[in-house]
Amino acid sequence: MKRLPLDGVRVLDLTMMWAGPYATKMLGEMGAEVIKIESPRAWDNIRTLLPRTDQVEDPWNSAFYFAEYNHEKKSVTLDLARDAGREAFLRLVANSDVVIENYRADVMDKLGLGTDVLLGANPNLIYVSMAGFGKTGGDRDNVGYGPIIEMMSGLMSLSGYDPDTPQKTGISYGDPVAGLAAVGAVALALIARRRTGKGAVIDLSQQEVSVKMAGIAFAELARTGAVSPPTGNRHPRWAPQGCYQVRGDDQWIVVSCPDDETWRACAETIGRPDLADLTLEERRARHDELDAAISAWAAPIDGRVAVDVLQEAGVPAGRVLDMRTIKDDPHLYVRNFWIRVPNPKMHPYRKHGVVWRLLEANPTITRHAPYLGADNRSVLSEVAGLGDAEIDQLEADGIIADTLGEVAFG
């Protein structure tokens, strides 16, 4: 494939926070022209979520959290709560392929931009809404961010140190998971439209996408009438498996022995050949003792050395990479995963690169996260067909802007 797969696809991106922006940055990486639309009065909160330790005139243009998930996008501001903003937006819709948003279920209708209005502007549009609990059904008015989605999906009930205390994932897991499904939805809808000429309306529920990720537990429930309780870091079928402290400040490795052969290799490696011939049943019964043996071996060793030695012996093992060590991981370094995307308003730092490595189309990140309203004039003239005088009027009326003035963080 010589060109990126979404080359020529135009996406109007009304998403905010993380779930939607994760989706649209993936679409951008795959070649779509992504036009991020924010209101001068209701911008993407991620621009100003975290307090800043540095003093800059326009902090909304240089927030590292915003920069992580908004590369490969253009920025347009439009106040969609006002008629002139809505009209300009619908002119953009008429010349776009996809509209995507992750508002609460009722917001688009309240803005006067319900599905009928959007399809009226462009009958072949692909419209993806990503409300937390969908636009229909009895939970549609629920409000939620990623951790709420994880709770409400059954996923959290599968995690925990013990069977009685569910544990949430350390990131807002429901967000990027929903974002990935939205990318799949856009791609499938584009494939279908290529054949039928018709667009699609996708009422994605972030909760449902996360429930889907817990699906194996539902199969167990259907077969046995119950779901196995969380087992911490242990595995429900094989042993031993666990997380063990190694040398250094809060440094850990995981070790996992899925069969007799790997356990035998593990026992030899940790200097306990006397345990090498334990059967699976014996290993399960003596899991605490085996954990203690692995811990005693690992504690004085550097995690990299411990993993190298175990892997050399054929034992699945890995470091628990934290936010410092993951930036120095030699494997990610060799694969050029962390990259610099120059942004004149930010000091240099490395962010994640493209995850879907299409070997020939070769997606790369060339465009840093956009400054607020940076593309107002070019997009509104070239895509919406507005003249200079009309754009001037929008600016004079505060429908578009490229600054936020004084903002409170949080």
């Binding site: 330790t53 920069a67 939805a185 996992s256 790997t262 993951i326 694969r335 994640h352 490595r357």
Partner: protein, 355 residues
């Protein structure tokens, strides 16, 4: 009924495992004809969930494999470099020999690099991607998320990437090889945490179930529930709690200083209510409340049933389409098939392609 978006798309699943299984399950659900080569190495529950809607064939000989790959549009390749090639061409060789194919390679560490041949189970993949270091209580070891999430996440990435690349292949008439590493899938999802260390020297560690009073999980009368409020939602939360709107709660710096007091208010409020009562407070007050639901609760949850989320089939009620709006196929349990049977339909296509 409209046709499924992937009707007429032929997919070969190689190597088995959860990531390839989940990726091609989603492709099958949206209408692709998926042929699974050999034993996928799944447990009974994994197999029931992930292999629905597919045909499973025995390992083909070289000629039959060639015929399958010639007729296919997509290969979902779950073979890791550490698994060895078992006499079959690797992902890169497939790309050279069958340039029309979209080949989605799903591996723990990618196809190259110093750890490419490392062996990995789900927990090893979860640990290597950074999410595990952020999960769990600070005074206990890092914790994996349940439900084989590193592998499921790899499969979800695979699905979205495959669908995207397939569109490109249909337009451009040529496929590509997509190298997806589970480590990188997770490492691209570290929220602000990885950037915070490098940009601000702010080291984010695991902070348990309740990193902040207004962002956490609490015990309630019949289980666990939670709240996740941004600054702008704090006033509404205070109203619900019946707590006066004072600067020590409203100001983010003061709120941190008085975190224990706010936690105590929320703790008591939650403990006196049930999960349903907490969740019901969310919509009218615009406060993000939730409850820890279990699969047993969700399987009969009427809003999900109203939306037609589940598939009811011979293996019971299982999560169905991830999103509505595109036709999802009624998936039947996996069918054992002979290579000849598959080639009787696919082979004709291959002959047409060859001619």
């Amino acid at each position: 009924m409209e046709s499924s978006p992937l009707e007429g798309i032929r997919v070969v699943e190689l190597g088995g495992g959860i990531p390839a299984g989940y990726c091609s399950h989603l492709l099958a659900g949206y209408g692709a004809d998926v042929v699974q080569i050999g034993d996928p190495g799944l447990t009974e529950d994994e197999d029931r969930y992930l292999s629905r809607g597919k045909r499973r064939v025995p390992m083909p000989d070289a000629d039959d494999l060639h015929a399958l790959l010639t007729a296919a549009h997509v290969v979902v390749d779950g073979r890791a470099p550490a698994d060895g090639d078992a006499g079959m061409p690797g992902a890169r060789q497939l790309r050279e020999r069958y340039p029309h194919l979209v080949i989605t390679s799903l591996t723990p560490f990618g196809l190259d690099g110093p750890h490419a041949e490392h062996r990995a189970t789900n927990i090893v993949s979860f640990a290597s991607g950074g999410i595990m270091a952020l999960t769990g209580e600070r005074d206990r070891p890092p914790l994996q998320t349940g439900g084989e999430q590193a592998f499921m996440l790899g499969g979800l990435h695979g699905f979205a990437a495959t669908a995207t690349a397939l569109l490109g292949a249909l337009i451009q008439g040529e496929g590509d090889l997509i190298d997806i590493s589970f480590q990188e899938c997770a490492a691209s999802m570290l929220e602000y945490c990885a950037a915070a260390w490098e940009y601000e020297s702010l080291f984010v560690e695991r902070s348990g179930n309740t990193p902040r009073p207004e962002w956490g999980v609490y015990r309630v009368a019949d289980g666990w529930a939670g709240v996740c409020c941004l600054g702008r939602q704090i006033p509404a939360l205070l109203d619900v709690l019946g707590v006066e709107q004072e600067p020590r709660w409203l100001d983010p710096v003061q709120r941190t200083e008085h975190a224990d007091e706010l936690s105590a208010h929320i703790l008591v409020f939650m403990a006196e209510r049930t999960k349903d009562e907490i969740v019901a407070l969310g919509p009218p007050n615009k406060v993000p409340f939730g409850a820890v639901r279990t699969p047993a609760e969700l399987v009969n949850h009427s809003p999900l049933l109203e939306r037609g989320f589940f598939d009811d089939g011979p293996d019971g009620r299982l999560p169905g389409r991830p999103f509505p709006g595109l036709t999802w196929v009624r998936l039947q349990p996996v069918v054992q098939a002979g290579i000849d049977e598959v080639l009787s339909t696919w082979g004709r296509v291959a002959e047409e392609v060859a001619s």
